[in-house]
Amino acid sequence: MLRHPTRKPAIVALVAGSVLLTACANSGGSSSSSSGASTGVSGDTVTLGAAVSLTGALAREGILTREGYDLCTDVVNAKGLQIGGKKVKLAITYQDDKSAPDTAGQLIDQFNDKGNKLILGPYGSATTEAAAAVVERNGQVMVDSSGADDKIFTKGYKRTFAVLSPASKYLSAIVTAVNELATPKPKTVAILSADDGFSKTAADGAKTEAGKVGWNVVATNYFPSRATDVSSSLTQIRGLKPDLVLGSVHLEEGIAIIRQSRELGVTPMAFGETVAPPTPDFASTLGPQAEGVLGSSQWTKEGKGKDEWFGTAADYNASFQQKFGREPEYHAAEATAACFAFVEAMTKANSADPNKVLDAVAALDTDSFFGQIKFNQTGLNIYKPMAVIQIQQGQQVAVWPKTDKTSAMRWPVATS
């Protein structure tokens, strides 16, 4: 165990040097092969860059997002994409951002160097925010599929567009839906929220909305993001006997709220949660306990609207099932929709040149399986409503907004 400074400095420096040089040389070399930066079309392939979380805390949702992107390339290539009068292949190159924002930013730079000017958003608000800043600087274009925190859209970015509704709408949609559909109407509501940015924004949105419709918010309670034990928060609200319990959560906290409520005897008229109920794991994990839970979703298979690539929401549902053997959840749908926005814009612009695509995306006003898509100045999809689903007989069914396809909301749903 030598505790000396450089005992064999020449050797040591040589090692350090060769490592550094090899690395420099390798990376320098590989970069020279990148091409097609100006048109975005290399040969007869258009390549979109996607930094998604395949490892780390967001791995679960990141993989779902990738499935949505994969379905998009499958469908588009099967039908054939025409740009500039010739048939081109749509490809997506994936990189793992490890659920870390700085890595996401770094990956966007790497895409830029390889000529990938068109970027599909990562999963999650923090990574999307980091990516958006880099996209703006590099003159790339990004369609965001899942970064919902409203903060992203207050920075004046001109090159990031989101097909989805912002975080503030996630939970307030349930308030609106319940107020519209329920009899008797709830008078009191307790809001439980994780303490990350996205969840807090969603909780604030619901609080505001609840005030508007005249409900009494009896408690707003926070717990650590990704907690699997929320019993203390539930113990606190149990005595308040709220008519409605709303959770601004991810999947694990969402499951914990329902499960531990049953254990602890918290029995409101109903539970409503963001993000968690539309995920298949939710119903499969909770079984009968999941019955009647309301959830907000970016997309349901009962949604209106259709497009020439994916057809209606029901058609999308079918093609997803065919590829993956199960029903899609909204994470996949919004990912496909982001990809769709690029495809539509490239077709309209008849080019894959980033600036032309940027203009075309900004000017987009089209119907789709995801609903109508048109972006405002800040990059948000102005038409996009949230949908509300309910777990009924183990299946998620759309209950709001009202269309001819939606089912009736069961109310109240409190058991035991």
Partner: protein
């Protein structure tokens, strides 16, 4: 009063389960001076094992331990004998790094094998609770708690009353002496690690019974094991149980009366405080070696 009682009961039940996660961690640390960063990952491996048996054979998670315990014991035995024994004499950060690498390997292996989907072992009694006045006690958690106690007692008996238990204690106190007395230290270490792994896997099965899991939660259980092991005193099995209960209570009460977002801060606050004020843990004798200065 009811919220307090409810939080207390729940905290104790949760604490008992955490104690079962931590007891093996504490054992390995106390006997071999190895801080096993892969401990949580081994617990979650047990959770998947038990879950898979339930899914494919319909085996109850408690019954499945008959299979899970011996298999995971062997897994642990092999890991120690084939890998950790190679660096057990190295400066401590080497074993930390080795087990960190092991954790990355297991967690990502599980991700590749089982995806990141959330799992839960759902049984007929998952949803039932026992109501005592205003206080409700979920059966599943009660079972997990009971199993925790049972296995901790079994471990204590094993260590106190068997020849192998004596060997484990002896090597933990003085390896050279143990070797001179003819003990096969490599084997003893491997048995220790195997036992710890089996206990972690049992805890994992119970985690699946009372809640949800996915590979990436492994690190969180390792961190909690740190807190409990330090709280209880290293290698002290009753201490681990006490440490788990204290941690469960402290976080339950803290979340009830302070803020739900403070639970982790409370846990780590306790950890640092105990280390500085009483590094021997709550039940341990003063641990002189813990300090650089008297």
């Amino acid at each position: 009063m009811t919220p307090f009682l409810q939080a207390t009961v729940y905290g104790l039940l949760q604490g008992g389960l955490l104690a079962l996660v931590a007891v093996g961690f504490s054992l390995v640390w106390g006997v071999m001076n190895v801080v096993n960063l892969a401990h949580g990952a081994l617990a979650i491996t047990g959770a998947y094992f038990s879950w898979q048996l339930h899914e494919s054979l319909g085996l109850d998670p408690v019954l499945s331990l008959v299979v899970v315990l011996p298999v995971m014991f062997m897994v642990g035995y092999v890991i120690q004998r084939g890998l950790i024994n190679l660096v057990v004499n190295a400066p401590i950060w080497m074993t930390l790094l080795l087990t960190f690498g092991l954790e990355a390997l297991i967690v990502n292996g599980l991700l590749l094998a089982f995806t990141g989907d959330f799992r839960s072992t759902r049984t007929g009694y998952s949803t039932n609770t026992l109501a005592l006045g205003g206080v409700r006690i979920p059966y599943a958690r009660l079972i997990a708690f009971g199993l925790s106690l049972l296995l901790t007692v079994a471990l204590v008996l094993f260590i106190r009353n068997t020849k192998m238990g004596l060997a484990i204690r002896a090597t933990g106190m003085d390896r050279t002496a143990a070797r001179l007395m003819g003990m096969n230290v490599r084997h003893v270490y491997a048995v220790t690690f195997g036992t710890a792994t089996a206990l972690a896997a049992a805890a994992g099965s119970m985690i699946g019974l009372v809640g949800t899991f996915t590979p990436v939660v492994a690190g969180g259980y390792t961190l909690q094991s740190f807190v409990i092991a330090v709280l209880g005193g290293l290698g002290n099995m009753w201490g681990a149980l006490a440490g788990g209960l204290v941690l469960g209570l402290a976080t339950a009460w803290g979340a009830l009366y302070l803020s739900g977002t403070l639970v982790n801060a409370i846990a780590f606050g306790i950890l640092v405080l105990v280390l500085i004020v009483r590094p021997s843990g709550l039940l341990g004798k003063p641990y002189y070696e813990a300090r650089a200065e008297a």
